[in-house]
């Protein structure tokens, strides 16, 4: 499918940028680039011939914000069809239940439309092991049978995938090592969103 062969964005590899190793954090996506990436992802979704059956479903807690950003952009680009936008909590479908010291905290679900026969785009900020997306697919199916499910992520950390899951739409592909951590900062109005690479997991 043409859509799936879409260019996967710019690549950043910390291995080839020596100064990164000495810094604590590195901004991967600054606010102006963030806006352009959202623009590109919105345009890629618009190319879908079945655009009027699309629905965005953000994976809680942070995928919901990204889905809202993209939906807002899509609605400006194509006001004839307001894309339905939901937020899906996957806590109860996760596979690391009873493997942590504390119970997993659920977030709110907000699915204001029927997924039946829709072309659902699952949206998340960072794709890493793929386990959250697996849980999301299972959680989504308990709301009905969508016509298709595709995956859109802002950051694709290519290494350390633990399940055979690949995104169709990618903001930025990052080659990072396990000890590093990718964090997305969301601003209230969307003008100062940015993504940074931390060289250690925050406590």
């Amino acid at each position: 499918m043409a859509l799936q062969k879409m260019k996967k964005g710019r690549r950043v590899s910390p291995f080839f940028v020596p100064y990164l190793r000495t810094m604590d954090r590195h901004v991967l996506i600054a606010p102006p680039l963030f806006v352009r990436i959202i623009d590109r992802l919105a345009h890629q979704l618009l190319e879908d011939p079945d655009f009027d059956r699309l629905a965005l479903v953000g994976i809680q807690p942070r995928g919901g914000l990204l889905a809202q950003r993209i939906a807002a952009r899509l609605n400006r680009l194509h006001p004839d069809y307001p894309v339905p936008c939901g937020a899906l909590d996957v806590t109860f479908h996760r596979d690391d239940f009873r493997r942590k010291d504390h119970p997993l905290a659920p977030s709110e679900n907000d699915m204001p439309f029927l997924v039946e026969d829709r072309r659902v785009i699952l949206v998340d900020d960072v794709l890493y092991t793929g386990r959250t997306v697996r849980a999301a697919m299972e959680a989504l199916l308990s709301f009905g049978r969508p016509a298709s499910v595709q995956l859109l992520v802002l950051i694709d950390r290519r290494f350390h995938r633990e399940l055979p899951i690949e995104p169709q739409f990618v903001g930025l592909t990052v080659d990072s090592i396990d000890a590093q951590f990718v964090r997305v900062h969301w601003s209230a109005d969307g003008s100062a969103d940015e993504v940074e690479l931390l060289h250690a997991k925050p406590l």
Partner: protein, 313 residues
């Protein structure tokens, strides 16, 4: 997210205010799950839970069983009448034998007060108390408070009346402990024989006049007259006739119409229709009774989820 401060749920005393808040917030998400086309989540799929019921129950048992099944746990049911208990096996032996079959959690109802705490001190497993005699029924209190939170938003300052057989009611004790913990004002109302002397030590008001209580309260929790527990050792009845009780302490439309403000009506079930509640009030617009039952499954899912959800349990 924080874990619950206790490994078990024996009584409301095990819970802190933040524990209650955690249970309520989790239950809200489970309530959402229960309104989906597919009402099941796989969280507890590697757990086996036994429902040990040494006393009859419809609602609590079905509610626990549904909660366990909606969380994908394996469920085994046990009722005392059809078991080796009638051959004289002790409680600890019965439970240890069940645990030897690799059961992870026990939900227990027992006619003796303190049975759950007794078991907890002698058996190595997680225990959820589903009612022990006249002592406590914590999940009922949690679902009552959850239903009130859904309706009124905030429990602080809410005026709740608990009417009827306070002496024999585990629901009353658990409700008093939980509601006062969460900042609500509680008044108990009933014939003098049904109000234990020590009840004021729990920080509640006492009344023997239902009309005065109704004029004061926002919520009336009408308890069932426990006809099976009228067990005074001297054989003296606690009240003269059901008819007289219904006239003085029963809630009917006419009595409700005399009150100026709307009152939410609760009942833990099963209702003795025409005694503590008339049919018109039980099925009326202010009744929360069926919401209580609906919320019961969500609350029990939240309790089981939170108790099971940490490593090592």
């Amino acid at each position: 997210m924080k874990a619950l401060s206790s490994r078990h749920l024996i009584g409301i005393r095990d819970l802190t205010v933040s524990d209650c808040d955690l249970i309520f917030r989790t239950a809200e998400e489970f309530k959402d799950v229960l309104n989906r086309p597919i009402k099941k989540v796989p969280s507890l799929r590697d757990l086996t839970i036994v429902n040990l019921f040494f006393e009859n129950s419809t609602r609590t048992r079905l509610s626990f069983e549904l909660a366990e099944k909606r969380l994908s746990a394996d469920v085994i049911n046990f009722s005392a009448s059809a078991s080796s208990v009638s051959k004289g096996e002790t409680l600890v032996d019965t439970v240890n034998n069940i645990l030897a079959m690799k059961v992870d959690m026990v939900v227990m109802r027992h006619p003796l007060p303190g049975a759950a705490a007794f078991l907890q001190s002698r058996v190595n497993t997680q225990i959820v108390n589903a009612g022990d005699g006249t002592h406590e029924h914590p999940t009922q209190a949690l679902l009552d408070a959850f239903s009130l939170r859904m309706k009124f938003g905030e429990l602080k300052g809410l005026k709740v009346a608990i009417v009827g057989d306070i002496r024999h009611s585990r629901v009353a004790i658990s409700n008093i402990l939980l509601l006062t913990k969460l900042g609500a004002e509680v008044e108990v109302c009933g014939p003098r024989t049904f109000i234990p002397k020590y009840v004021t030590e729990l920080g509640v008001r006492v009344s023997h006049d239902l009309d005065a209580t109704l004029a004061w309260c926002d919520v009336a929790n009408m308890l069932r007259i426990q006809l099976e527990r009228q067990d005074d050792p001297r054989g003296i009845p606690y009240f003269s006739t059901l008819r007289e009780y219904a006239q003085r302490f029963g809630l009917h439309e006419e009595r409700l119409q005399r009150v100026a403000h709307p009152i939410a009506i609760m009942h833990p079930g099963p209702i003795n229709r025409g005694v503590e509640l008339s049919a018109g009030v039980a099925d009326g617009p202010h009744s929360l009774i069926l919401e209580q039952v609906e919320n019961g499954v969500a609350i029990r899912m939240a309790v089981l989820y939170l108790l099971a959800g940490t490593r090592g349990n």
